[in-house]
Amino acid sequence: MIIRFKINEIECEVNEEKEDITILQACTANGIEIPRFCYHEKLTIAGNCRMCLVYVTNEEKLLAACGIPLDENFDDESIETEIDEILKAREGVMEFLLINHPLDCPICDQGGECDLQEQTLAYGLDTGRFYIKKRAVEIKTFGRLIKGIMTRCIHCTRCVRFLTEIAGVNELGVLGRGYNMEIGTYKKNVMIESELSGNIIDLCPVGALTSAVYAYKGRPWELKNIKGIDIFDTLLTPINYQVKGGEIFRILPRINDRINEEWITDKVRFHYESYKIIEKIRKETPSYKIQANKFIELTWKTALKMVFKVLLNKKNKVDLIIGSKINSTNLRIYKELMNRLGSKNYITENGLMFKKFNYDLRENYINSNDLYNVDKNDLVLLCGINLRVESPLLNIKLRNVNFGDDEIESVKKIGIIGNKFDWKHESEYIGATLNSMLKLFEGRLPYCQQIKKSKAPLIIVGPSLLTRISLTLQEMRAIFMKACNLKPENILIITQGANFGMALEEGLFKEKFSIGGNVLYSIDSNEVQVTNKINYVIYQGIINDKFENKIDLYLPSKHYFEDFEGDREVYMNTFGQRSEIEKLSISKGNKIKENSMIGYIQLMYLNNKEMTRKEKEQKDIKLSYREMKKEEKRKIKVNKYLTINNIIENYYMTDINIRLSKNLMITGQLRKEKKIMEAGIWKNRKCI
């Protein structure tokens, strides 16, 4: 049935069967803006602020626009949003909200981007009539990252809905009734244990929840937006660096409903203070080690001569390891450099953990699954991945039971192969050893029948599984497709690092790589272990805390968001989606150069010699594990009883930019200690 109605004399029509739409969504679609406090586009409807009242003809009362769907009752009706009766109602709502709201606007961090400020200016009174007493609530602590001045709270419950529905932790709630109503935790001094807890800072329409790291630092009209990406997540979610001068003041999410909707993780939101520390600590000139802790400062000409001597010496065997933040232009340059030298030992940092690759077919490493449809799968099998830690934003997508059609079951079936983890969801635990994976490959698990019966299954393979089975990505997909009758869009392989897809796109990987040479040439990779076989280490990057003592020659280069020529650069995630970043220059020294410039100089020097690597022939696809087992018995060695341990132990220790952030480090340590305390208490309960 087609419903025809009017909104402020604008004629509209909605097909009721095809669309589910509310009054507020229809108004925003027509460009009419209705003020609100509790409604948010990505959360469920609460309707408790009563700010979005509209007038509908033939109705006795004003209606809340956020919660009322447009159905056949609205046929041939008209909706008004700015008549005097509505303005009087909004004026009353603002007056009640401002009875207990403190006059903190000059000192509040939300000043300049506060919803309460703007709607008071538009709809509120100029004076108050209530002078007897203002209520005050004590300041609450939710951890190191969020500052909670709850006197300013207007109880819109956005933060409560976000943490229960999306983040999956039930730590905030509404306490008290009426005049004594508060939002907080039941116990005092409770830290919000979620990897996405910083998003409630964005959701709060007043300054009750603000960033503790950004406290009293700046005002929003002073800051300039520069586009960036989340370099710590494989989804490469778009973010905005907010910059003043040449310094990063804070990081906010950028809206993209295909990837992250409006959320970012706490890693990327609060890690920006490490850049100020790095700029103080780091060396700004090329330097060469004489003794254990003594370095000579060199000019770039002298330093590059030393590099050429090492690279051109035929006795040296050079291993090139490229960090996981380097963009695709630099990957191409250094691949060409090693090809000119005749060496084949070059790999990225996130590719070191894998045993086999096959980079010929693009459909093997680019997941053809669209992230927008991930929440429509009704059965998910997690193989060797702690999804909450390794990809928190994909975890949100899978947990999403808030919206959607009623015909689909509200709770998904989730199976886990690997270690147990704090999932906060109903899940079936299958096994922790590789034996259960082999049974899955052969189709002998009872869970395989459930996979075949389901309409939209999804299998997610994590990086800790790929390190223990010597299969290529292509072979992994083929086995799953045959064993469970799946399509390529039902298999999702998650890797680590930002440039894994780009490295495969550039053809960087080869089948086997091992650090066996005597020279290590590391380009901004921090997580590599340097063995005693290596005599000489060239480090070209920013700062290093793992093998800083073993560096012989240091070449300073720039951060990943200033390490390109021109104004913008494109990154690509494992779904083939591309995100642009803009140039943001924070390096102060003259002698800090881009990685691309250093690579170009080395290529120009080696321009006389031309050597190209022969391309390998394409291998045939082997469809089943049984056939592969017969043909290559000696090559594949799998320990059946080996457990699939998750790689990441601490969420806040995975990168040097996070290790140098003081607030994130303390948050990670507090969570460790809390787990140990809870374990002790739990054991005591068993004794009692």
């Binding site: 679609a29 409807i45 906010l252 927008y372 509200s410 270690n419 104004d567 803009e582 787990k675």
Partner: protein
Amino acid sequence: MLKKFLISSIVKPTFQSRIIASTTLNGGAGRATFCSVNSINPNPTASQIKVDQEDLEVGEHLVIDDPNQQHIKSFLNGVEFNGKSVNIYRPSRNTMQTGTLRTKKWVIELPFNPKWNDRLMGWWASKDTLNQLNLRFNSETDAVAYCKEIGLNYNIVEEDVTLRKKKKYGHRFRYRGDLVGEKEREVGIN
């Protein structure tokens, strides 16, 4: 003078009054010598001021990363920005707020030139004054027409992807599967 002359002519004898009249003439000659002082220029030129050597070394602590990048030609004369191009985009909504007033116009953003850090004072400096200039237009075609008229290179930046969700009031009270029973939490991860 007249009063003095009249008084002296009445009281004193005639011979002395003649002597006084001659001295007044000499006084006039004295004023004439005073007028010659005004011929000196009271406003000295700048070249006559003594300049210390230290004053010439004030600006040496500035460190400019790349001086060639600081030079921008004027865009009003239809000249390129040394090959750089202008961005045309529509700004997205601020995630801290719900208002969408600033997201309805298209903005021409001039190229962002790098700044240098003054190590002595601690601030960031720039030679360019066009960083604060943002031209706003009602539609994308108006912005493109303006760039073509002046002769600027332009890039059209893609807008953010926003999709509408299906919403009902009952979605708030759905079962999410978390209340089956409190399970024993494992220690070891986070």
